[in-house]
Symmetry: C2
Subunit: 353 residues, 2 copies
């Protein structure tokens, strides 16, 4: 064990606030709303709520909002891409419980001065994602939104009772994996925000990763069906924040090995041109919408066989669950506490993710 630096929380270079404000608020809200009785199986504090409303399976339920000027900028994102992404981020939450997404409602806030035909372009992107992910859009609400376009999707889905994967099941000794490489969406956002000129072969996949993320719900279902994950979360805020959520819910800590954090090769190539540290983009960039999960060491063989047989890319190990309550990053300089380094959705203000 190397030296630790408690309290030395390194923030990203771009001005993202820290998350404890949001976490404290959500915990205060959870106290206000109380602990719901059965058939509510999971309330506030996971990727989805879960309800035991049908024998043998849980109804999963999630909601996510994307707001103009905070989560997207229509000067570089099309309305069709926005429609896609709004569903994708919700499907990702269903996937993080091991569930299968099925139904969605749309609440669309539209500026009075904006051409309404744009709402149909948004709907086309949304419907394209819905077909791709096997989801039916079955209702919604349309309202005026003078402050900009705001899109909220709420999605339900199913998971067999015995298969649901919570955030709270991680145990010391479990290995930590992600379903794919990291940092591409964050690099894509940097390129878009700063209008950085790069070769299309480098730039385009990074931009696509930001604009039209692909949720990993099929990997999530596989992990759930085979009982291979003890805890899982989707990477919306970045590994540093989201792993901390798992640790907090599970009452454990974690050690990540910096050299194993899988920054995408494209991110490694682009980072110097963006004046970014590829490790920062991979750990704290957010919006990868890969799944981060923990898995017992004795199941590693079964884990890799299952992914190979399903034709999915093998999971990438990046650390292990520990006793304690801190998320530590092991670098050549020792250990660094990164338990606080991430993105706070509730503050913000500039387009940040």
């Amino acid at each position: 064990m190397g030296k630790t630096f408690p309290g030395q929380i390194r923030l990203m270079d771009n001005p993202r606030p820290t998350f404890p404000g949001e976490m404290a608020l959500i915990e205060a809200l959870a106290r206000e709303f109380g602990t719901p009785p059965p058939p509510v199986v999971l309330g506030i504090g996971d990727d989805c709520a879960a309800l035991a409303v049908d024998g043998g399976r849980y109804l999963l339920w999630t909601i996510d909002t994307l707001t103009e000027g905070v989560h997207f900028d229509l000067s570089y994102m099309s309305l069709a891409q926005l429609g896609w992404k709004a569903l994708a981020v919700n499907v990702s939450d269903i996937g993080a419980m091991g569930g299968e997404p099925r139904y969605a409602l749309l609440a669309l806030g539209w500026p009075p001065q904006r051409d309404r035909t744009g709402a149909l372009e948004l709907a086309r992107g949304l419907q394209q994602a819905a077909r791709e992910f096997g989801v039916a859009i079955i209702g919604g609400d349309t309202v005026s939104s003078p402050g900009g376009v705001a899109i909220t999707l709420t999605v339900t889905g199913w998971v067999p009772e015995q298969e649901m994967v919570r955030r709270s099941g991680a145990r010391a000794g479990d290995l930590i994996h992600v379903t794919g490489v990291l940092g591409e969406a964050a690099a894509g956002l940097e390129i878009l925000k700063n209008r950085v000129k790069l070769k299309p072969a480098m730039k385009d996949p990074l931009i696509q990763a930001h604009l039209t993320p692909r949720p990993q719900h099929q990997a999530g279902r596989l992990l759930a069906r085979r009982g291979l994950a003890t805890a899982m979360i989707d990477l919306s805020d970045g590994v540093a924040t989201d792993l901390f959520h798992i640790c907090r819910a599970s009452g454990v800590g974690a050690r990540l090995e910096a050299e194993r954090v899988p920054a995408s090769p494209l991110v490694k190539a682009a980072a110097p041109l963006l004046n970014q540290d590829p490790l920062d983009l991979a750990l704290k960039g957010g919006e990868d919408y890969q799944l981060l999960f923990t898995s017992p060491p004795e199941k590693q063989g079964a884990l890799f066989r299952a992914f190979t047989q399903a034709g999915l890319p093998p999971p990438l190990p990046l650390g292990e669950v520990t006793a304690g309550d801190r998320v530590l990053l092991v670098t050549e300089r020792g250990e660094e506490d990164i338990s606080g380094a991430g993105f706070d959705h509730f503050r913000g203000g500039a387009v940040s993710s």
Copy 2:
């Protein structure tokens, strides 16, 4: 039959746009999303979507957004009242299907410059409504919203399969009722917007009707359980608009008798002081959150007995369902087509309802 004035759509004096724009958009969205297959029982076009996911009962599901500067003004509405109202308007939608509300998720957009403790005040009002209506808040999302506070609630509930009341069941000859007097919320909004000085005994109940509406889901359940309603909708946009929704879904028309439209006594008293026509407030004001329903003539005795036995105020009849496709208002001057007179949520811009 008197003389009709097709095309002569009288709008309210205040600058509310007409609704065909919103209806046309929603119909275009519905075409884009297609007709979902079973187990979806109801998709776009009613107060809730309905899913046959559990033997014998349907899961009802709705979503509604309230946006600062459009639906509310925090200079005269407390955050606790906003929390209450955001749940009330969703519970009203569940009630309009004859259902019982049960669970909710909250998506809260909060301006970065606004004190976060206000979100807890909002949560207290929301939780008070949740207790009152028998709903558990079981999850949500918090995001930054530079344009102002935006609150979206999505609510689920249950209705026995045989009891669900759609918009589409009205038949010529059915009688049209509302569950209570009309126009109070609209009068209250006028008082608040124009800071009109009236006696508290007159002003306070009207303001309360606007700020903290009471959804009529218990009346809706009663109508559904006893099979007394052929079609039902909640009055969010005003009788003129909402009755037109029933007519369009049912392939019928309607005749309202102006002298039977139950403007509240307080509205009749306050209207002259507000430079408003009480009939306009009652027909087109919106946000009454009473239930508007149709009921066969042979069930009128059972209808009034059921409400009396349940300790609920008797329904108020105001007209009848007709063949054809227009909503006509019968006044001493003849008949007037009011099929187009209502509020369009999707335009707006000023605080209008």
